[in-house]
Symmetry: D2
């Protein structure tokens, strides 16, 4: 993720009017060789292997956390206490308890903060939000989301260590629940409001794998697949599913919302399109419209190329960073804030709890209205 | 459904070599005017308003039941006892208990029998079965199915009576669970084997509607939406969903199966296509193949038109009827037999039970190997 | 085509209110064995090997010509002179001169007549015509059509004789020009009005093939591919293309029309859909709508199944036959009449002329308003 | 285009190993205010309003020409004579004569050169080239390409001046022929070899428009639409079409190639996909594969994100610039070189000639093997 973030830092100012001119000050990594090479590639002024020095440095205004999940809380809390703005990769914590402490820290410090749930800022997804907020869908009946991958099907794939920490439950916190479902949940909470309760099932298809750090074959602690039924606060019903065992799909994140008047479908594999059906169209001309989200009237798209020319994955990070700086200039964070990230962790906690106990579980209710963000 | 069945009776012999030459003897309906008009339109030799007379008639070899769900058991059992071949619309019974008595009757009588789960004989679906049976998918990880409609969203729609008995729980037995989910379940059991357990949720979005027969606004007894998680006997996980509140979808029945080596997707709105992904293709040329199921090498398609020219919904009934007659000639039924129909009712019973009690429910295990069918 | 026609004769009355009750009197074929078998399969009362006897028979009201192209004119003219209604497979003649004599005969006799350009009655295509007639597209700028097949790519395929007469130029008149382009042209003239002039190129990729009747390798006389540019009377520009050498396409007939306000696209491989774009939609919600042509409000579709359930290729023949009988009851023919078929032959003549002489060729102008049809 | 190029200059080094470290030295524009603002936005060190000074500056190694078409030749020739590497926007010249002088200049000077036909470096297009070069398609029968836009349909749109010079024939040289068709032709020559002859038609739908510079309503000199038939050197037949009057399409550049064994289709509106059909697949499993070009095995894609995450339009420029620098390091240009650009101008000349004289026109034959490029 360091590349996606750095690309955003370098590129945002070329396409957006920013209140700040970002300076790529220091890249921090445990491995100095990699830090050096990364800094050279991306134009960072210096490198560091101890993140505490960055947090302590008066030269640094903003800390961006793109390290494994088990490091998020400690760094973020220290950064907040040091008065830095903080951006953190998702999921916010390995669980809601970690996330809660992070929220407490940034809110106590009053520092602008944000979690990198970047898919909110794919223009097609931002447009979906706009259409819902305009009331075009009417009463919502159904929500369905899935995030399908197929990269861990081989039992030869090891777990743990460089590049594979997502398979190590002690580092990641969970498997696809925190990695993939979390994306689906963040979008869902944003588009469709809070989730009341869930009934979930998880599975680990490959029970043991060689661990890269220990060299031994060890039990796999993560969930390979995670599915749940949900009831939202607005009365709609939902299915959610995430897996790394869906042959043929690399990163197929899709969601669909069915409302009384209109429905919306989106798909990460064709992220520049939004499918929209409006029942108010004339009867014989009703159909799913394939909106090609490249027009100046679409969110963010007046900043890019002429109509018809699509942008890609990385642009969502550029948008998010530009929005964050804009918000930060007036002392706010940009959604999803840490508090929003906590809301997602509350749901993933409920999912894992439900799967473990085979029952319906209520999602923790909190006052998420607190905190200001754009 | 009378039209779809009658069309199959008339048409099968033009396209298939049949062991029998079907004669459209008598159409039976409570309303004699409608029976008369229907008989004239379709070329039935006579009409009848009391089904018992048909069952008793020595002129009749085969009884086809296309009446509302609450009549299935009584007619089927009488027909079986009278030694007739029996074909019955789905779901077999309003619940597994009814279905069980029907199975007992046809098996005791030894008469060829079949339930009209017609989607098995859409050529694309038949091909999916063939590919699975050939082992092309390998170990199965995921199954997902949904059946989405949007025709009952308006609260002005009444319930009950002619054409609307599907909204009357006393006649239908359940709402979308028995109507739509049953199709998804029949296909799933056929393609992916038995389901072990389910966790379900149902909802009735419109709580009361005017009843057409009583004229009064009455509580709605059916489920408008029914969703469940499932674990199959083969270890795969599944989501199932059916609803009549998915704006923009008229009859969107879809299923997807993800196996170790290959995946399959099908969609009733484009029923002449099958999507197929094979991981064994060369790395840079892997992609979902959109198979246009119109070639002579595809199931049933050597009987129809030249390649490229698609068939439609009604053809699945023609195929099913042709297969039934072929099986009947050697004294067998054609799958799905009543016993197969019972297996589906066992799952819908479990779904409704789970939704009512908010817990995981085991599906009744039976010996479904019994009974011979093609 | 005998099967597609016979299916229409048998089926139209089950789904449409017809002014006549069609009786399948006699099937005529040179080969008595095949005639007999066909009659048994389809329920014809008798067979005949000499078409002249049918034309002379007082028992016969309507002659349907589904034989090779070189027989169309002689049979149709004789039938017209005998006062029979006449339906003829397309193309009407092997060239416009033949077609002209056929038009003269049916118009002199005043008999209802029709050419089987069946694609006009695919509901999606009929809807396209309706939208154009309502003026929804505004001024037309572009038309593009193609008909792509791939069944003659192998050089091992012989030419001539049973089932392969389409490769024999003396029987067929031309190759893909009269076979496939003719369909594209008929639709285009119907939807977009007369064509003024064309510039064409044709090619025969496989220069010689074994002839089935002579047993010798002989030069191939037909065109394997035929492409042309056109200018319509309404000022719009067009590309047309037909080939049997487009690997991956079985019968991919597509057309697209671009108007000032709206555009339309249709595709035979998904014939139950119409793609529609309307610029008058709100700016950020403009998109190609995929209309699933299965609703009661769509042409012909109130006669078939419930919304969402598609029909197929053969239904276009049912519609055309039902329309023909309705028209015939008031003494009219149904479009496309022989006169319409002649208009298409005028264009294919111009195409072949242009390809032969490598120049732009004006299409013969005639008064096509003559003749009454529905 | 200045933004697309500058983005490539800044970004290439972050993702590719480059032999040079590009320095954004000077931006040149007639309007100093715009130059200043552009320089600030993109980090150019200085601005200039007279391009001759850049050409004369020893500080500058590479001249990139992104100005209107009527300035290409003069700047490129001067730059080449000054020994600079030259990159030029397409089309190379307003006609082949201009392009010829540019080729002469760069070849005489021996400077690395390149034309910005960026679509060759969309990974899906690069993969298409690879598949063709591997012989997977076999003998080629058909090529078809179109580039459809709809932005000039309104008669209120003026011509000429800032942002609208593409409608002024004296500046642009031609309308869609040089602007859009040129892209189609460049790709076609690359993928399918030289074109022998063409038959074309052009049209100007809106005959006069207000001119922005003169303020008067003046005749429109450009072609609004340009269509042609072509025969390639390899015997295949083609249709080409470009227009700005195709309602519903913003930048729909598509091409399809049909070979004996396999076919390929690509579409700029979903540029991250390649459609591939291989007849050598098993008969009942043949289908168009939708390749999602995001895997490490796909051209350029090992440099970007993890599989499943798409890139966009701008990346083609990054690829082209990275390839140019790599080539330049060993003294070569990168394809398409000026000589390749001239080949395209030869075809557009033939198209305009054919349209003007309404006949088939042979494309000028040259020895295009000259010149070294990667």
């Amino acid at each position: 993720m360091g590349r996606a973030h750095s690309n955003a830092f370098r590129k945002a100012g070329n396409f957006f009017e920013l209140p700040y001119r970002p300076v790529l000050k220091t890249v921090c990594a445990r491995n100095p060789e990699r830090a050096k090479s990364f800094a050279a590639q991306w134009g960072y002024e210096s490198i560091e292997s101890d993140w505490r020095k960055l947090v302590a440095s008066p030269e640094i205004d903003l800390i961006d956390i793109a390290s494994p999940n088990d490091t998020h809380a400690e760094i973020a809390i220290a950064a907040a206490r040091a008065g830095k703005m903080v951006m953190c990769e998702k999921p916010l914590g390995r669980n809601a308890a970690e996330a809660e402490s992070m929220v407490a820290a940034v809110e106590a410090a009053g520092v602008p903060n944000m979690v990198w749930y970047n898919y909110r800022r794919i223009p097609a997804v931002t447009l979906a939000k706009k259409l819902i907020d305009e009331g075009r869908l009417g009463r919502i009946f159904h929500y369905r989301a899935k995030f399908l991958q197929d990269w861990t099907i081989s039992s030869d794939l090891p777990q743990g260590g460089e590049g594979l920490w997502r398979l190590d439950v002690s580092v990641a916190g969970s498997g696809v629940t925190g990695d993939l479902l979390a994306h689906c949940i963040d979008t869902a909470l944003w588009l469709n409001g809070p989730i009341d309760e869930v009934s979930a099932v998880t599975e680990t298809f490959i029970k043991s794998r060689k661990h890269n750090l220990t060299g031994k074959v060890e039990p796999v602690g993560i969930d390979d697949a995670s599915l749940f039924l949900a009831r939202f606060g607005n009365g709609s019903l939902a299915t959610f599913e995430a897996t790394r065992y869906a042959r043929g799909h690399k990163a197929l994140y899709t969601f669909e919302i069915n409302g009384e008047h209109a429905s919306i479908f989106w798909d990460l594999h064709d992220l520049h399109r939004l499918q929209y059906f409006d029942h108010r169209d004339e009867g014989h001309l009703r159909g799913w419209r394939s909106l090609h989200i490249t027009d100046r009237e679409h969110p963010y798209m007046d900043k890019w190329w002429v109509p018809g020319l699509q942008i890609g994955y990385e642009h969502s990070f550029v948008h998010q960073f530009a929005d964050f700086l804009t918000a930060a200039a007036s002392g706010k964070g940009a959604a999803p804030t840490f508090r929003d990230g906590l809301a997602t962790d509350d749901v993933t906690d409920a999912v894992l709890d439900s799967a473990a106990h085979r029952n319906w579980v209520k999602v923790r209710a909190r006052d998420h209205a607190k905190g200001e963000a754009i």
